[in-house]
């Protein structure tokens, strides 16, 4: 499939983050956004840490300093540790400005399905529902289609829901879509990607923004 490499999806997502924002990066692809966040963004992880730095290198690794995805992270001045009670107060009580989450499916009305894969007997809810309901703004980042080439942006989620009507923005390998009351508004295209191509790989009908532009990084 055409479109952005994963690093570029993360880089584009990082542009949504401004100094002073409190941000959680979900398990999976979103954790990589930590490597691109502008200075002044304060990262939260649900295992109980606020204000950490990028993913640790092999030499920096300490197995007791990790994010919720168990990836080793780094210290920044001003970092704080707390227990999971307080970590989840931050998530569930609308204290976080943004959560960036991965997903299997997202619907036209912002329903999110990101905890159980197709055909899985069990699944991993983790902190995904807490973030989906609790953060002030939800940005979803993903490959535009799943590994079988099927759209992830669908009319109705067929996988078990994480939360209903919570997603604000979708950033994929092909485009940036804002979920508005009128529907899915296509705001940005990846370099070399056409509106038709995106529509072809997206179930719901897209509204083309009057300000449609090429993604910048």
């Amino acid at each position: 499939m055409e479109g952005l490499a994963k690093d570029l999806i993360c880089l584009r997502a990082a542009k949504e983050l401004k100094p002073g924002m409190y941000v959680n990066l979900g398990i999976g692809l979103p954790t990589q956004v930590a490597n691109f966040t502008p200075q002044g963004v304060i990262l939260h992880s649900e295992n109980g840490v606020l204000g950490f730095g990028p993913i640790a290198s092999e030499e920096q690794m300490d197995w007791e300093l990790v994010n919720a995805g168990a990836q080793p992270i780094t210290l920044l001045p001003g970092i704080s540790f707390f227990h999971s009670i307080d970590a989840f107060v931050m998530m569930r009580g609308r204290h976080l400005d943004v959560a960036i989450l991965g997903t299997y499916q997202v619907s036209e009305t912002g329903d999110l399905a990101n905890w159980r894969m197709e055909g899985e007997a069990l699944g991993a809810i983790g902190g995904s529902m807490d973030l989906a309901y609790g953060a002030k703004r939800i940005i979803v980042i993903c490959e535009h289609t799943d590994r079988n080439g099927k759209p992830r942006i669908v009319m109705q989620c067929t996988l078990p829901l994480t939360a209903k009507g919570v997603v604000n923005t979708i950033i994929t390998s092909l485009c940036v879509i804002e979920i508005t009351k009128k529907g899915l508004e296509l705001r940005e295209l990846a370099p070399g990607i056409s509106t038709d191509y995106v529509q072809q790989l997206t179930e719901p009908k897209l509204i083309i923004s009057q300000d449609l532009k090429e993604m910048e990084f």
């Binding site: 880089l11 100094p19 002073g20 409190y22 490597n35 691109f36 966040t37 502008p38 200075q39 002044g40 963004v41 304060i42 939260h44 606020l50 204000g51 730095g53 990028p54 780094t74 210290l75 920044l76 001045p77 001003g78 970092i79 704080s80 540790f81 707390f82 307080d86 989840f88 107060v89 931050m90 569930r92 009580g93 609308r94 204290h95 976080l96 309901y133 609790g134 990084f217």
Partner: protein, 248 residues
């Protein structure tokens, strides 16, 4: 493509304000204001005085006892008090709530400290309501929904979100990270968590990175303004009677 963030740099965020007056400047008429402290310890006296001087009106104040809002009663700023001690703990100290309460000028909700603390925490944690047994069979249960869990009769208590919290820290940095000193910690952390805007007066402002990350009690996410303030005169603290203290 932007280079990777330099590690070792602290976030470019600055929550420090210069004066207590500036710190309380946004508090509006009718706001719900939580005030930290338990006894004199942990009470943000300088913020309270600055707020009293602004003469805002119709506040709902949420605090342990009149010790935290006597200045605000005097400035005519209080419409309602939500407090576990609707007098000083020592009943021989004149009660500043008594007259305005009997005259109908100030509404008073008296409740168990634990129910208050849990209601504040619930607001912080995105929990709109919870059941608890404390208060059952008492005036606290009057007018409240009741329900038994097993043999335990409970009341339904609702979250109590704050528009503003005035709190007292010991040391704070420009990210809003705070530590407290001994029992001056008390209600300050929960007030900070429950408020949309938390304003902290501190004894000392320190550089980002000076606080031990394992011992930060209130992480900066719960704090919006930090101001250095002089400690209160000791006779405010020991006399218990705030009127006397004003003369110093």
């Amino acid at each position: 493509m932007r280079a990777q963030l330099d590690t070792g740099k602290s976030p470019a965020v600055n929550k420090i304000v210069a004066t207590v007056s500036e710190a309380v400047a946004d508090i509006f008429d009718g706001a719900v204001v939580g005030i930290g402290g338990f006894g004199a310890a942990g009470t943000p006296y300088r913020l309270i005085l600055a707020l009293a001087e602004r003469k805002v009106k119709e506040l709902t104040v949420v605090a342990t006892s009149p010790r935290q809002f006597e200045f605000l009663i005097q400035s005519g700023s209080v419409r309602k008090a939500i407090t576990p001690f609707a007098r000083y703990a020592d009943p021989s100290v004149p009660n500043p709530l008594r007259e305005p309460y009997l005259k109908g000028e100030i509404e008073v909700e008296v409740l168990p400290i634990g129910n208050l603390v849990e209601r504040l925490r619930a607001a912080a944690a995105g929990i709109p309501a919870f059941y608890c047994p404390v208060g059952i069979d008492t005036v606290v249960a009057e007018g409240k929904e009741k329900r038994a869990f097993g043999e335990q009769e409970c009341i339904l208590e609702h979250a109590l979100p704050l528009d503003f919290a005035l709190i007292k820290g010991h040391k704070g940095d420009r990210l809003g990270n705070l530590i407290y000193r001994m029992t001056a910690r008390c209600h300050n952390p929960v007030m900070a968590m429950a408020a949309r805007v938390t304003i902290a007066e501190v004894d000392e402002i320190i550089e980002v990175g000076e606080l031990n990350p394992e011992a930060i009690i209130t992480p900066g996410i719960f704090v919006h303004k930090v101001v250095k303030a002089e400690k209160p005169p000791l006779d405010w603290v020991y006399k218990g009677v705030v009127q006397k203290a004003r003369k110093t």
